[in-house]
Amino acid sequence: MEEKKSNGLAIASLVLGILSIVIFIFLSFIGLSWIGLILGIVGIVLSVMAKKKNPTGMATAGLVLSIIGTVLCAMALIACIACVGALGQTAETTRDILTTIY
């Protein structure tokens, strides 16, 4: 039963990892990398849980693909538009940044 559950987690992580890569390749151009990022993150968590319960090849593949998908989507997304030091950013500043860039 436990093995079946971890197998399910591994398959889910594999699917999510593949999806996040596919989204990066085909949808990052239209600014939808954040969807791939979320899927990749969920994929990483599921694959770690699967590997902890039953370290199979499928779980490892899921982990690797999810990490690749997450990293690619994050790199396309994180532009450091305002990596502010603390809570110093105000609504005024956000408005300025958004109007400057977009």
């Binding site: 990066f24 990052s28 600014g31 954040w34 990022l37 993150i41 990483i44 968590v45 770690v48 590997k51 902890k52 990490i67 990293v71 690619l72 994050a74 790199m75 396309a76 997304l77 994180i78 532009a79 450091c80 538009i81 305002a82 990596c83 502010v84 030091g85 603390a86 809570l87 110093g88 950013q89 105000t90 609504a91 005024e92 500043t93 956000t94 408005r95 940044i97 958004l98 400057t100 860039i101 977009y102």
Partner: protein
């Protein structure tokens, strides 16, 4: 300076790219060097790093979104809310939010798989200043976190930045903070044999980074820094960090001397 890099036809944000290079180097050092001193497998450290990274992303982003709630409330009639939310998801991270989120991620991992949270923190804390140091190079490329107007040695002038003011010589804030963080990393590296299994490491990091950040804040020229009683929010947080660091040092010192006297 160079906010985006094209690799094989894909457009990557240079900041994101540099940050991941930093995380990769930091993870290798944590897994292969610092893991030797603790009873934790390399695999567990790797997974904890993954949870930590996820926590950093969520924490930094959540705090950023929280700080922008007043803006959304104020402008919800004139803005396309969906587009604005997407734009906010793309940009804007709060370092201290990331720090809290990262430790929360590691805490969740340690609880989920019953691994010592303190040991994981001590291992990973050693490489935080290194990752931060490399990350500041990303800031330099993106043109964010810039310094005030400055005409002395090492001044940087941006020409095509959409974040920093163009054609004005600026204090090289990103480079100075990167060097300071690297020096903190070297200090932690030199003292790890002495402090490795004590919370003094955490204390030392909090004190050193708190002091560096407190001083450097005076030279920053970006954004409105949220000034309260003549100090920026980051400086107030730095003061809390320094007090926390000193108390950890004192507490650990007393604990050790009590053990010795017993």
């Amino acid at each position: 300076m160079l906010p985006f890099i094209n690799i094989l036809g894909f457009k990557f944000a240079s900041y994101g790219l540099i940050i991941f290079v930093g995380i990769f180097i930091g993870a290798i050092i944590a897994i292969f060097h610092f893991s030797k001193f603790f009873d934790i497998s390399k695999e567990d450290i790797f997974y904890a790093i993954l949870y930590g990274i996820i926590g950093v992303g969520i924490g930094a982003k959540l705090l950023y979104l929280l700080t922008n709630i007043p803006f959304l409330i104020e402008n919800y009639q004139t803005l396309n809310l969906w587009n604005t939310l997407i734009q906010m998801l793309q940009g804007g991270f709060v370092f201290y939010g990331g720090l809290i989120g990262g430790f929360l991620g590691i805490y969740i991992y340690s609880k989920q798989f019953k691994i010592s949270f303190k040991s994981l923190c001590l291992i990973l804390l050693h490489v935080v200043p290194l990752v931060h140091s490399i990350g500041r190079v990303g800031c330099l490329l993106a043109g964010c976190c810039y310094g005030m107007e400055y005409h002395g040695f090492g001044a940087i002038t941006f020409h095509n930045s959409f974040l920093a003011p163009n054609n004005i010589p600026l204090f090289p804030m990103q480079i100075v903070e990167s060097i300071c963080n690297f020096i903190i990393f070297i200090i932690l590296l030199l003292t790890y044999k002495k402090f490795i299994k004590t919370t003094k490491t955490i204390g030392l990091y909090c004190i050193l980074y708190g002091i560096v950040r407190f001083i450097l804040e005076f030279f920053r020229g970006d954004l409105i820094r949220g000034i309260y009683f003549s100090l920026s929010t980051s400086q107030w947080i730095s003061i809390v960090l320094i007090i926390f660091g000193i108390s950890l040092f004192v507490f650990e010192h007393r604990k050790i001397s009590k053990k010795k006297s017993d």
